[in-house]
């Protein structure tokens, strides 16, 4: 038995059998030579598949198919709210990452006298000294507002079109969890500048946590780092806002969208 590698496809015999011009021979020989080394044909097939996928003909939309578009717009504009909240989330993530370069989660400073803390100072610095810092913070904040609004409206759309029914119960529960996490995201971000409103909103949070039976004190310790507000609170909120929630929420959104992808979008009829 020869150790020489067999040519399974017998390329040479196939080439000989063809009636080829010189150019075709050179081209094919080169192609076969390259393909043996680089698997070019695989990639060409991938490209071909992508081409056909990209040029898929859109089927008639639901409104067209059932001649609903002469009635009125129906629910259609509201069917983009889920993706709009993702867009806003991405925008907030990008602008938030940039804000993170300048923000300092520290309450250093004479807090009791109402003097600005390091956190507040870094916010002032972002808005006054950093190039486009004012715009950056504005984008971050408005993206968050739009995300919360889109998420609320998205849930209303799902509710009123009954899109939570039969195969989609799990996704509805996931959505409720995501809304709660979005609100927590907003709340933790609201606390970070350590303004008067931030501080007293956090104070209400602590009082609420302490009012919870059984787990109250534990929850206050976990979320706010103690029973009174201070450096620990700010750091907890900061870690929650920039480290814990982004990963958890992104993962849950991925699962949420993955399920929608598998099940298809629920149509009104």
């Amino acid at each position: 038995m020869s150790l020489k590698k067999q040519d399974d496809m017998d390329h040479n015999a196939w080439l000989k059998g063809q009636d080829l011009t010189a150019i075709e021979t050179v081209f094919l020989t080169t192609l076969i030579w390259l393909d043996k080394r680089l698997r070019i044909v695989d990639y060409l097939e991938l490209l071909e598949t992508m081409y056909y996928r990209a040029n898929l003909q859109m089927p008639k939309s639901h409104t067209e198919q059932y001649d609903l578009d002469n009635k009125f717009w129906y629910w259609y504009p509201l069917y983009s709210l889920g993706s709009l909240s993702i867009i806003a989330y991405l925008l907030a993530a990008v602008s938030g990452a940039m804000l993170g370069f300048y923000y300092a989660p520290s309450t250093a400073g004479a807090v009791a006298q109402g003097d600005p803390t390091a956190a507040y100072d870094s916010m002032v610095m972002i808005m006054k000294d950093v190039q486009f810092g004012f715009m950056l913070r504005s984008i971050h904040r408005w993206a968050a507002q739009f995300m919360v609004a889109a998420v609320f409206l998205h849930m209303l759309r799902v509710y009123f079109t009954g899109a939570y029914k039969e195969p989609r119960e799990v996704n509805w529960i996931l959505g409720v969890v995501l809304i709660a996490l979005t609100l927590l995201f907003g709340f933790s971000g609201y606390v970070l500048p350590w303004k008067q409103l931030s501080f007293w909103a956090a104070q209400i949070g602590v009082e609420l946590a302490l009012a919870t039976p059984l787990v109250g004190e534990w929850a206050a310790q976990l979320l706010f780092g103690g029973f009174t507000l201070g450096q620990a609170t700010l750091v907890r909120m900061y870690i929650l806002h920039v480290f814990v929630l982004p990963f958890v929420v992104t993962a849950l959104i991925a699962i949420h969208v993955g399920i929608v992808w598998v099940q298809g979008i629920a149509e009104p009829h």
């Binding site: 807090v111 919360v148 119960e169 909103a201 009082e207």
Partner: protein, 272 residues
């Protein structure tokens, strides 16, 4: 197919006469079922399938073939047209359709961000409580739930002792609301996809939305020159009123405007 239990084409109800005298085909007014989706490149050929003829692969293959066949039979036998439009592909159809709206939305965010800069208040001062404490607007409803204190004395037992602290009452209200919302898919079943089909549930939804808004107003009551008792009554009466109005409107729509649509989708056949 090696499965003997599934009905053959002859057994199906294609030619069967309906109870109202017509046939299934005659009653169809929507142009027939949508064309079946052609298999894409990933679908293995017949010989490829046959090759997996041993062990777990074969079992899995048989199982999938069987359930495919069952689905197919169910779909063929069904006289309920809505079955065919239960889901709509996310990619590319819905995604491509949304792209235009998405860029528009991005533009709006940037525009709003540039003309309406964010709030820039005083630094935190634990020593002085501000007159007005507020969270962001999307938590107003939650903040409103914490101001349900006037309800608390009504729950009093045993010589006027209130049962729980005001904060705990607010927390329980939160738990109840989130719990009800989570349970919705398990309480409301069926195939209805439009508010007109279920006026009761739609009315409940509208009442919920109005309650969220009135609770938000309760949270920022300092800004409204309204008596607290009146405001408190409105918080709970407006949702009920909204729900009743919604119910009445949807019932009316159902009888009138939507009748043709209902007829098309539920294949209500004209009397002979």
């Amino acid at each position: 197919m090696t499965d003997d239990t599934t009905p053959t084409a002859d057994d199906r109800t294609d030619e069967q006469v309906r109870t109202d005298g017509g046939t299934d085909e005659a009653a169809r007014t929507d142009g027939g079922p949508p064309a079946t989706v052609p298999p894409d490149d990933e679908t293995p050929t017949w010989s490829e399938r046959k090759e997996r003829s041993q062990g777990l692969a074969q079992l899995t293959y048989q199982y999938f073939e069987r359930s495919r066949r069952e689905d197919e039979d169910l779909r063929t036998e069904s006289t309920y047209v809505e079955r065919d439009v239960l889901g709509f592909p996310t990619w590319p159809h819905e995604t491509i359709r949304n792209l235009a709206i998405t860029s528009f939305f991005l533009g709006i965010i940037l525009l709003v961000a540039s003309i309406l800069p964010s709030h820039f208040g005083d630094p935190a001062n634990p020593g002085s409580t501000p007159a007005i404490i507020l969270p962001d607007w999307y938590l107003y409803w939650s903040f409103g739930l914490l101001k349900l204190d006037p309800i608390n004395p009504d729950l009093a037992v045993l010589g006027g002792n209130i049962v729980m602290s005001n904060e705990l009452l607010g927390l329980i209200a939160h738990g109840a609301i989130f719990g009800v919302i989570t349970l919705v898919p398990f309480l409301n079943k069926g195939n209805a996809r439009r508010p007109v089909e279920e006026p009761g549930w739609a009315a409940l939804g509208v009442a919920g939305v109005i309650l969220a808004i009135t609770l938000a107003v309760l949270a920022i009551q300092n800004f409204f020159p309204v008596q607290l008792e009146l405001l408190f009554s409105l918080v709970f009466m407006l949702p009920v009123a909204g729900g009743v109005v919604t119910y009445a409107v949807l019932k009316t729509m159902r009888e009138g405007y939507m009748y043709d649509l209902n007829r098309r989708y539920y294949m209500l056949r004209p009397p002979k």
